[in-house]
């Protein structure tokens, strides 16, 4: 990964973004330390919970932690730091050309969607360029877009804590942190940056998974939709706290619908690939069902002795899942990878059979399960 230019772009932009953000906030943090510490203490668990939840929002297996953290760091450091001067300049241009009154009303809803959605979405592209296997389709784009958006959201929430302290005339420190937390996290996190960038990310994921005119159009369309949702949220339309849920509902709905479509797309390709590999004899009959359910994969490990056999089983399942996802696409297809994985699966299966002490067949459905009652997302 470190030999790819995108890795160094990611690293440089994260450092640069951090430097810009610290330069912009260090005076406030130094003067309002209590509020800053309270804000950090409130927001850090939200970030951790968000990363945990968004990683697991996948029907078959959680997203790798390393890739998730790359996306979060891009959103919270690179995109956020770059957005500070970009937004200020864009709004200054609007104020100078259209007047301060227009800028006060509409400036944020014009500048922020363009700057921030492009910057956050760039995180999905950078991740795909760093690790082409990370983004193979809309579901990956959705997930890493959401994670980049989450990083941005938490960084912005912290800035709002500091801004709220200033807005209260420096009279409230901790209260400003609690107020911001209530308004922007409890009241507003459901339809914030993560949701908008998830929508844009799903479209970009289509394009990165398989480049064609239709996926390019889909990527452009989803980016425009993400910008439109962002503009709608920032616009002066439907003002007032009571109407925020009404204003936020379309954003959350768009993210949920996009997820459902991306998930359906993923599962249909997953099942097709599993059928093909079963017909080829790489997967054993019934093994595709175990692979599709996280809970079943966990349970089958209980029937395998600890130590080497259990490690081999885990490696076997990982190799099988990698094989099924290999044909999904990505920026840099690796045609020999499938054959490599098939060979690896054969070797692992042989070693597992040799090492296994118990009588369980790898891939056998645990006896206490009723497949009809389970769903792929039940884990």
């Amino acid at each position: 990964m470190t030999r790819r230019p995108a890795f160094w772009l990611w690293a440089v932009m994260c450092v640069l973004g951090l430097w810009i953000a610290v330069s912009a906030m260090d005076a406030q943090v130094g003067e309002f330390t209590t509020g800053a510490v309270a804000g950090f203490a409130l927001l850090a668990p939200v970030l951790a919970a968000g990363v945990w939840g968004l990683r697991r929002l996948h029907p078959v297996r959680p997203r790798p932690l390393g890739y998730a953290l790359i996306a979060v760091a891009w959103g919270g450091l690179a995109a956020f730091g770059t957005a500070l001067p970009a937004n200020a300049a864009f709004q200054a241009i609007i104020a100078k050309t259209a007047g301060p009154q227009f800028n006060a009303d509409w400036g944020a809803s014009i500048a922020a969607p363009v700057d921030e959605e492009l910057l956050k979405l760039a995180g999905v592209a950078v991740l795909a360029l760093m690790a082409p296997r990370a983004v193979r389709g809309p579901l990956d784009g959705w997930g890493y877009g959401a994670l980049a958006g989450l990083g941005f959201q938490i960084a912005e929430d912290f800035l709002y804590v500091l801004n709220t302290i200033v807005l209260t005339g420096g009279t409230q420190d901790a209260n400003a942190a609690f107020f911001t937390f209530g308004g922007r996290v409890i009241g507003g996190a459901w339809w914030s940056h993560w949701a908008m960038t998830a929508v844009g990310g799903a479209g970009l994921g289509c394009l990165l998974g398989r480049a064609s005119r239709s996926t390019a159009a889909l990527a452009c369309g989803s980016l425009v939709l993400a910008m439109a949702l962002h503009a709608w949220w920032d616009s002066p339309l439907l003002p007032g706290v009571a109407l925020l849920p009404v204003k936020g509902a379309p954003i959350l709905l768009a993210a949920v619908v996009t997820y459902r479509l991306a998930r359906r797309h993923y599962l249909s390709r997953f099942r097709r690939a599993a059928r093909e590999e079963t017909a080829r004899g790489v997967l054993l009959p019934g093994e595709d069902r175990v692979l599709a359910f996280r809970r079943w994969r966990r349970k089958e490990r209980w029937d395998v002795p600890g130590g080497e056999p259990r490690r081999l089983l885990a490696r076997l399942r990982t190799a099988e899942l990698d094989l099924l996802e290999d044909g999904f696409g990505g920026l840099e297809p690796d045609p020999p990878a499938a054959d490599r994985l098939r060979t690896e699966i054969t070797v692992l299966r042989r070693r597992l059979n040799a090492a296994r002490a118990g009588p369980i067949r790898p891939g056998a459905v645990p006896p206490d399960h009723h497949p009809d009652a389970a769903r792929p997302d039940s884990a």
């Binding site: 309002f32 104020a95 100078k96 050309t97 409230q172």
Partner: protein, 185 residues
């Protein structure tokens, strides 16, 4: 060329346009401002029903320029003349607010920007009968004054500063603007 190079180049291009080109365009447009006529009333704060902003002040003489890029009007308005900068920030309290408390918070905000409130504040009463506190401030080779007005649900913080000579010349007009501050009921 492989996608890892041109793809990364494309991302760099987007970053350059947003992070570098926008600030350059802004700079190229210059520090445009709107010349304010004598007697103009400037309104600041979040718009209420009927499009009314709750804090107003009057510009007493011609020659002041409203900095469009640095005036959000929702939170603040910034005027300048001969290097003297007059800035009014609206304060939204989360709890009870009074002049003394706001003055203490105001001191922290001024010191955050590298300035300092000098000496204890003096009471001030606007032309509309609103009481507040005012005192001198200094920093970065400039002198000026700071003023706060507080009400239970609204406040205003005003800083005016500039090079000593210019500030002394315009101090009368600055004071007139401060004394014209009015909160909508």
């Amino acid at each position: 060329m492989r996608v890892k190079w041109w793809g990364t180049g494309l991302v760099v291009l987007v970053l350059l346009i947003l992070g570098l080109m926008l600030p350059l365009v802004d700079k190229a447009l210059g520090s445009s401002g709107t010349a304010i006529a004598a007697g103009t009333v400037i309104a600041v704060g979040t718009e209420r029903a009927g499009g009314v902003r709750p804090v107003t002040f009057t510009v007493p003489a011609a020659g002041w320029v409203l900095d469009e890029a640095r005036s959000s009007l929702t939170n603040n308005a910034e005027l300048s003349r001969d290097e003297v900068v007059f800035n009014l920030n609206v304060v939204i309290p989360l709890g009870s607010l009074d002049d003394r408390r706001l003055w203490n918070g105001f001191g922290r905000i001024v010191s955050m920007g590298g300035g300092e409130l000098r000496g204890g504040p003096e009471p001030i009463t606007t032309a509309h009968g609103m009481d507040g506190l005012t005192g001198p401030l200094a920093g970065h080779g400039k002198i000026g004054s700071g003023t706060v007005f507080a009400r239970d649900d609204l406040g205003a913080e005003i800083t005016a500063s500039g090079p000593p000579e210019a500030y002394r010349r315009l101090a009368g007009q600055v004071r007139a603007m401060v004394l014209s501050v009015e909160f909508a009921p």
